[in-house]
């Protein structure tokens, strides 16, 4: 099955995979900058760009509907397990 997110040949598709390396470089640059001259603004920029980088990596996996379903199932099961293992 064609992965439309990572197939640049699909009309309207987003090639998330190609966005990962430059974004990783962007995060690395800001990390270095923050290490030498930390500031609140730079920290916010680093957090925003790191989050965008993680989003690209996630999106590059493809099929968001199936991923969403699986994430919801795992999270639901994890929280319900707390009722069993951590009674108060």
């Amino acid at each position: 099955m064609t992965n439309v997110e990572t197939d640049p040949g699909t009309p309207g598709a987003v090639d998330y995979r190609s966005k990962i390396p430059p974004q990783a470089e962007n995060v690395r640059r800001i990390t270095d900058e923050f290490a030498t001259s930390p500031s609140d603004d730079l920290r916010e920029e680093l957090e925003r760009e790191t989050e965008r980088w993680r989003y690209y990596m996630n999106a590059a996996k493809g099929n968001p509907k199936n991923r969403a379903r699986l994430a919801a199932e795992i999270a639901k099961r994890s929280v319900l397990n707390n009722a069993v293992v951590q009674p108060k």
Binding site: Y55, A72, K88
Partner: protein, 132 residues
């Protein structure tokens, strides 16, 4: 036979929002340990998860496990996935109980709707509760 009410079960899971946010952070780590690796607690718990909980509740989700599932989808797809038109219409479909609509998304919303929800990821949505 021991009978546990829904309220008691909820209290077993999380006595308050602070505990719920903690359990959601644990759940997110189980979904994908790399997704939020290294995030400051002030960003992850006090902002992203806290606003996610409010966003889930704005759609009528009240059970801790349902709220956690909703927040997990925000991290998996986009914090504003619920703003995509087709997804929004299912979440607002009054012909079904509010608690059921979220899980119907995985059956009723099209692949294209999910692709679009992901495509229009908005970082600023982590700082909104969805009720503004």
């Amino acid at each position: 036979m021991l009978v546990v009410s829904r309220e008691q079960l909820d209290a077993f899971i999380a006595a308050d929002d602070n505990e719920l946010e903690y359990h959601i952070a644990v759940a997110l780590n189980k979904v994908d340990p790399l997704r939020t690796l290294g995030y400051r607690p002030e960003l992850l718990r006090d902002t992203m998860i806290k606003n996610g909980v409010e966003r889930a509740r704005s759609h009528g989700l009240t059970k801790p496990e349902d709220v956690a599932a909703f927040v997990a989808v925000m991290f998996e797809v986009a914090p504003n996935f619920d703003e995509q038109e087709e997804i929004k219409s299912i979440l607002n479909d009054a012909t079904f109980p509010r608690s059921e609509r979220f899980y119907q998304l995985f059956e009723r919303a099209s692949d294209d709707a999910w692709l679009e929800a992901e495509k229009y990821y908005d970082y600023e949505a982590w700082f909104r509760t969805g009720t503004e």
